[in-house]
């Protein structure tokens, strides 16, 4: 369990082209928006490129490219796929 916790990261911190799986989305006001855009638990997601100041970041999920600010990515917990 400790190991799992240790391995979990949030979406804003993953490195480019690393495929991860969404494990949880925090109960923030942004949560409904994220789910509408297809970000739900169990979905695979990958950061593909970043804006010039490292924020926002573009992710690929289900063949779509979605851009998110770091503060929004922080609401999404991921683990190694």
């Amino acid at each position: 369990m400790m190991l799992l916790l240790h391995m979990s990261q949030t979406l804003d911190a993953i490195s480019l082209n690393e495929l991860v799986e969404i494990s949880a989305i925090s109960n923030d006001a942004i949560a409904p928006k994220l789910s509408e855009m297809g970000l739900t638990k169990g979905q695979k997601i990958k950061a593909i490129f970043k804006a010039p100041f490292g924020d926002p970041i573009a992710y690929e999920i289900n063949g779509n490219v979605i851009s998110m600010r770091k503060e929004e990515g922080m609401q999404v917990e991921v683990q190694m796929a």
Partner: protein, 646 residues
């Protein structure tokens, strides 16, 4: 029947709308909000229907202003736009997520046509969609496939509409909208829906897809050096077009209206009505149409950028830079366009979906120094700023001009910074945004956008502009009856008798303006503008230039009885330099000149901007606040500048 067009953003929904309605479409607003409503008529084999295009949304649960409209209309069966049936446009290459909103609408019980658009792109991506299974999952929906970008599928949609029938149906997933109030419940329902849709297994990946070309392009277009470089080049091109090339058709329109006005004065019988038409109405309409080239050109480019998918990359690379000011990445285009003219700039703020960011952009845009300020700046600079060179190279006059532009930009950003704490947000600001694949822009969609924007400006803002310009014309042309006596006195003077015909006309015009209602008003308000270093003549020029800033130059030329031709400009500069106040000091001292320059940087001296802000915010509240705010800032800063320099 009333038919609503729904769908996620970037699904080619507007292509479907344009394909179905052609030119039989008009733009309005949904009641009470600033969300565009496009409407058109369509004819199925059996019937004629009315089609309403709703803003692209991802879900029934509303967050942005656009989404609010969708929810409000769907929740109120007495709403004038409540649909009898729905056409839902889905991106076939992105089916599962697109089915979320569709399934919600399906469960609300509307007769519905599901249009799987961009069918070719789904094929290219190697996606195989099980249509039979899709039909089984939503048995009461009519399902068609289209390729609206190349106008394929129109008859299929129309035939499917005729086949719709209203009947009770079993929901795809229980959807009691009264119960789904909280964020958590909504998210839960959304997640269940998406899970159920994905579990259907509608889409199979046939072969490994080719590497995404868009992502490769994005490596360059969002690059920290090339990305900004390319964006700057694009902006520079747009700017070049609206700043320089637009002046060709603008001068033409201007010239034609002057000729039309002259022609009317000659042909129609002399009288009040003729003067109203020739000098009030025709120049007023000309004053509206003169903006058309800039609006058309700017929206041509914006539509091109939006259609191609590039505009969302602009937001992506500019977000971090604009965020501290409460502005959107998309604010860059409206703000920079405002350096040419705030009218198209403010109209282009429509591309910003967040209401607060859009409002702030609209509010600060007129602080950017537009091209109408240039004649005012150059006149005043050549009168009060000496033609010296700093260190032998840097022109002082040029430096002052640069400073004025900078002042406007800095103040616009500063105001935005403050406003983000003052403007209440109707919805929470977020930036979770789709970056659609790059596409070749569809030129007919670009054409529709240009046509629609020009039409909206001419019909909506045009009315206000014509009305105000006729009012200003009347105030400057008519005056109390004492004018006739003053004119007689003038004609008795030796100076008048010695003058030639042109000079006589100029002296007459000067007297008539100073004795007009505006002239009297200028004298009456002299005490109020004296602390800024202005006399009543400047007051008159300020008042009449509310029509448009460049009128300031023409008004001064009339007051000082010099012609308006290129030679007149030199004579005007000379005259202003010679002009003495009651103490025998120059009226146009450095202090007064600088005070006026600063005044023109800040003041909302443009009725057309006011009219456009009214149209874009759908209320008089914002243009009036803006007028007041800009006026107060202009007055106070002109006061400070004058008092320091005098």
């Amino acid at each position: 029947m009333k038919i609503a067009l729904f769908g996620n953003p970037n699904t080619g929904k507007s292509s479907v709308f344009n394909m179905l309605t052609g030119l039989r479409q008009q733009v309005g607003n949904f009641p009470g909000v600033t969300v565009d409503k496009k409407q058109g008529s369509i004819k199925t084999p059996n019937e004629k229907h009315e089609l309403i295009d709703f803003p692209g949304t991802y879900s029934f649960f509303a967050r942005s202003l656009d989404e609010q409209v969708v929810k409000e209309v769907l929740n109120d069966s007495t709403h004038p736009d409540y649909p009898d049936a729905i056409i839902y446009v889905a991106d076939a290459a992105n089916l599962e997520r697109n089915l979320l909103f569709f399934s919600q609408l399906y469960d609300l019980g509307f007769p519905i046509v599901l249009v799987l658009n961009m069918w070719d792109r789904a094929q290219q991506k190697g996606l195989q969609i099980n249509l039979e299974l899709l039909q089984q999952s939503f048995p009461d929906a009519q399902i068609v496939t289209t390729n609206a970008r190349v106008s394929i599928g129109k008859t299929r949609i129309l035939t499917a509409l005729d086949a719709l029938e209203k009947k009770e149906r079993a929901p795809f997933l229980a959807f009691d909208r009264q119960q789904l109030q909280s964020d958590q419940e909504q998210t839960l329902n959304t997640n269940q829906r998406l899970e159920k849709i994905r579990a259907l297994g509608l889409v199979q990946q046939r072969n490994t897809p080719a590497p995404n070309k868009s992502t490769r392009l994005d490596q360059i277009l969002t690059h920290r050096i090339y990305g900004y470089l390319i964006f700057s080049l694009i902006l520079l091109t747009i700017f070049q077009f609206i700043f320089s090339f637009a002046s060709i058709p603008m001068d033409f329109i201007d010239g034609q209206f002057v000729r039309l006005s002259d022609w009317c004065s000659h042909v129609l019988p002399e009288g009040v009505l003729t003067r109203l038409i020739a000098q009030g109405l025709i120049p007023g309409i000309g004053g509206v149409l003169v903006f058309v080239p800039q609006i058309a050109i700017l929206f041509f480019f914006i539509a091109l950028l939006e259609e191609s998918g590039y505009l969302s990359r602009v937001v992506f690379i500019m977000d971090r830079l604009m965020r501290p000011f409460g502005l959107n990445g998309k604010s860059v285009v409206p703000l920079l366009s405002s350096v040419a003219c705030a009218i198209p700039g403010i109209m282009s703020a429509r591309t910003i979906t967040d209401w607060k960011e859009r409002l702030i952009t609209i509010f600060v845009a007129p602080f950017m120094s537009c091209s109408a300020r240039i004649p005012v700046y150059t006149l005043l600079i050549s009168v009060v700023i000496p033609k010296t060179y700093i260190g032998g190279i840097l022109s002082l006059q040029g430096l002052v001009l640069f400073g004025l532009y900078l002042l406007g930009i800095l103040f616009a950003l500063g105001t935005a910074l403050v406003l983000q704490f003052l403007v209440k947000n109707r919805t929470s600001g977020y930036h979770v945004m789709e970056l659609p694949d790059y596409k070749n822009p569809r030129m007919s969609n670009v054409g529709y956008t240009v046509f629609e924007k020009v039409k909206v400006f001419v019909t909506d803002a045009g009315k206000i502009i014509v009305a105000i310009s006729i009012l200003l014309w009347a105030l400057a042309t008519y005056g109390p009856s004492s004018r006739t006596a003053a004119l007689k006195d003038l004609h008795q003077t030796q100076a008048f008798k010695n003058a030639n015909e042109t000079q006589k006309q100029e002296l007459d015009n000067s007297l008539l303006l100073s004795q007009s209602y505006i002239g009297h008003f200028g004298k009456w308000m002299e005490p109020a503008i004296a602390p800024l270093g202005y006399d009543w003549k400047i007051g008159v020029a300020l008042l009449s230039s509310f029509a448009a800033r460049e009128v300031f130059v023409g008004s001064l030329a009339t007051i000082y009885a010099v012609g308006e031709d290129s030679d007149g400009q030199k004579r005007l500069v000379h005259k202003l330099k010679e002009e003495k106040n009651e103490y025998g000091k120059p009226t146009y001292s450095l202090a007064t000149g600088a005070s006026l320059l600063v005044f023109y940087v800040f003041a909302m001296q443009c009725m057309a901007t006011l009219a456009v802000v009214k149209r874009e915010t759908q209320t008089w509240k914002w243009p009036l606040i803006q007028l007041l705010f800009m006026g107060v800032v202009a007055y106070l800063s002109a006061f400070v500048v004058f008092q320091i320099l005098v």
